[in-house]
């Protein structure tokens, strides 16, 4: 079944120049492996199509049950150059939480009840 990430994780995002970072944090320890398996850099790049114009890098932080994504070329030049409302990428966190991932029904039932 399809599950939106907001059911599995919380997040915070920020900026470094024209790069947005999104830290995606599993709501529970047992949900972290699903994030590692499903929320790949390739899928995040696809999710942010038309928003992220550069590469997406992913880093794993099993100690925090978190993934960190760097979305390059995403902030209209970044900092004071950017004309965007969200020049600091602060809402990329919730934008990522919109993403739908596919989880086998049985796994979803056991983890999300």
């Amino acid at each position: 079944m399809k599950v939106p990430l907001i059911k599995l994780a919380h997040a915070r995002s920020g900026d470094k120049g024209d790069t947005a970072n999104v830290g995606l944090i599993a709501l529970r320890e047992d949900l972290y492996p699903i994030l590692v398996r499903e929320v790949t850099a390739v899928r995040v790049k696809e999710h942010f199509k038309g928003i992220c114009n550069g590469e997406v890098e992913r880093f794993e932080l099993p100690n925090l049950g978190a993934l960190n994504f760097l979305l390059h070329e995403s902030l209209g030049g970044g900092g004071t150059l950017s004309l965007m409302t969200d020049a600091q990428g602060k809402t990329f966190s919730t934008a990522l939480l919109r993403m739908q991932i596919e989880i086998p029904d049985e796994e979803a039932r056991s983890l999300l009840t």
């Binding site: 100690n63 978190a66 030049g77 934008a95």
Partner: protein
């Protein structure tokens, strides 16, 4: 040696809640108050202020703040570390000294002054010697913007702040110092950590990272169960309660609102994170993948297990340069078909700008209420939206073109789609853009100076 040192964060940025530092010193036991005032382009604003008035160029709010908290700080033995000095650290320190004297604290206060970060006058010399100061993001050499540079400062680490504290300073004021250094330095000073004790230096650095954005680790901007976080009106700013072994607890004063728990601390840990394996500061390289967290009771999170590695041989330099002009105009369109109207208005506006022959480096249209934050991820906007704000921004080097743009917004009210309002603010302002140029400089090019003055 004290068993535990409590470092309180008083400002998450220049312009944060003005009373937060006061509440930190008055609200319960702390040993240090740390105040971060410098965002990336703050130095350029200060450089301009100093050009107009040689006595200016620092975070002016810091002086009245010290007037308010000095008596309590002296009474309770609280020391202050702050990067409030901007591009005029001495001027800032003298103003603070004057305040101390006016409060009758003469003879009781030593102020540490940390300088050596300002390299604006040395740029040509550095470039001539082959230190290119290439942009860390774009790899362009600094020479491409040489004539537009407004400020240039190396990020100093904890070491000179430690020296100021070791020499008896009650208040240490720096220019461009890292926010993490402001927290790490008191720990090095109190616990006598060695300059190559990488694990502990990394621990103090991460403590600094967690509290440097103020309440953003104690309930502010916290997505996890945000509706349940109590009494945000009275939010408590964070305190790092550190032990000599490099472990620490993140907490806040009793009786304050907000919340410190595992999710609130995790959210702050990942904020503005790059490669978590190497968080590089002047003091060490901290490894965020080694951080262990544990619940330590209500509003307490224990942090331990942190590993660090030797510092690199470079310092980051923050350079600001003038990068043209921008302006943003907005209008609000109401139901029915609010989005369609805003879209039509944008087309009309762009056709008029074209006809005027105006050229911009960038023009960006956003529809606030429909897609300004999440773009196309929100799907097709509903025709039933109550209102949509049309928001058009332009940027370029030609100030005249940007100014002409600002005159094209209001006329849309009488010459465009109906149901429009929201122009009470008048014509958009043309803003000069000061952009940020991050670079690296060899550490041996930077010599920090520490001076102590007495009130």
């Amino acid at each position: 040696m004290k068993e535990k040192i409590r470092i309180a964060a008083g400002q998450g940025f220049w312009g944060d809640l003005p009373d937060a530092p006061v509440r930190q010193v008055e609200g319960g036991p702390i040993d240090y108050l740390m105040l971060d005032y410098l965002a990336e382009v703050t130095m350029s604003i200060m450089q301009k202020q100093k050009a107009r008035d040689p006595s200016a160029g620092y975070a002016r709010d810091f002086v009245p703040l010290m007037r308010r908290i000095f008596p309590v700080c002296v009474e309770r033995g609280i020391k202050v570390t702050a990067n409030a000095g901007g591009v005029n650290v001495l001027g800032c320190a003298e103003a603070v000294r004057e305040v101390a004297r006016e409060l009758g604290l003469a003879g009781k206060i030593k102020i540490g002054i940390v300088t050596g970060d300002d390299i604006l006058d040395r740029i040509d010399d550095l470039l001539a010697r082959g230190i290119e100061l290439r942009n860390m993001d774009t790899d362009e050499p600094l020479s491409t913007v040489r004539d537009r540079i407004q400020s240039a400062n190396a990020y100093l680490g904890a070491a000179p702040i430690v020296e100021g504290l070791n020499r008896g300073a009650h208040v240490v004021i720096t220019g461009r110092a890292t926010d993490t250094g402001l927290t790490l330095a008191p720990l090095v000073h109190e616990f006598g950590w060695a300059e190559d004790d990488w694990n502990r230096l990394a621990a103090g650095t991460i403590a600094g990272h967690i509290i440097e954005c103020g309440a953003q680790c104690s309930g502010g901007n916290c997505q996890f169960n945000w509706q349940d976080i109590p009494d945000m009106a009275n939010v408590g700013f964070p305190i790092a309660e550190a032990s000599a072994d490099g472990t620490f607890v993140i907490t806040k004063h009793d009786g304050t609102g907000g919340r410190v728990n595992l999710p609130s601390v995790k959210e702050q840990l990942v904020y503005e994170m790059g490669d978590p394996n190497e968080y590089i500061t002047p003091d060490c390289v901290a490894d965020f993948t080694t951080i262990q967290l544990a619940d330590d009771g209500p509003d307490r999170v224990r942090v331990f297990g942190i590993k660090g590695r030797p510092a690199t041989d470079s310092l980051k330099v923050s350079i600001s340069y003038s990068a043209g002009f921008k302006a943003v105009g907005t209008l609000v369109y109401s139901w029915p078909d609010a989005y369609a109207k805003a879209e039509a208005a944008d087309k009309i506006l762009r056709a008029r700008l074209d006809r005027l022959g105006l050229r911009f480096d960038q023009i960006l249209t956003e529809f606030v209420g429909a897609n300004a934050t999440h773009g196309s991820l929100t799907g097709k906007p509903s025709p039933d939206l109550a209102e949509v704000q049309l928001r058009v921004g332009v940027r370029g080097d030609d100030r005249k073109a940007i100014e002409r743009f600002t005159k094209e917004i209001a006329p849309l009210i009488l010459t465009g789609p109906p149901g429009v309002t929201g122009f009470a603010g008048g014509r958009p302002k043309v803003e000069e853009i000061v952009a940020y140029w991050p670079a690296l400089i060899p550490k041996n090019e930077i010599t920090e100076q520490v001076e102590i003055i007495e009130a």
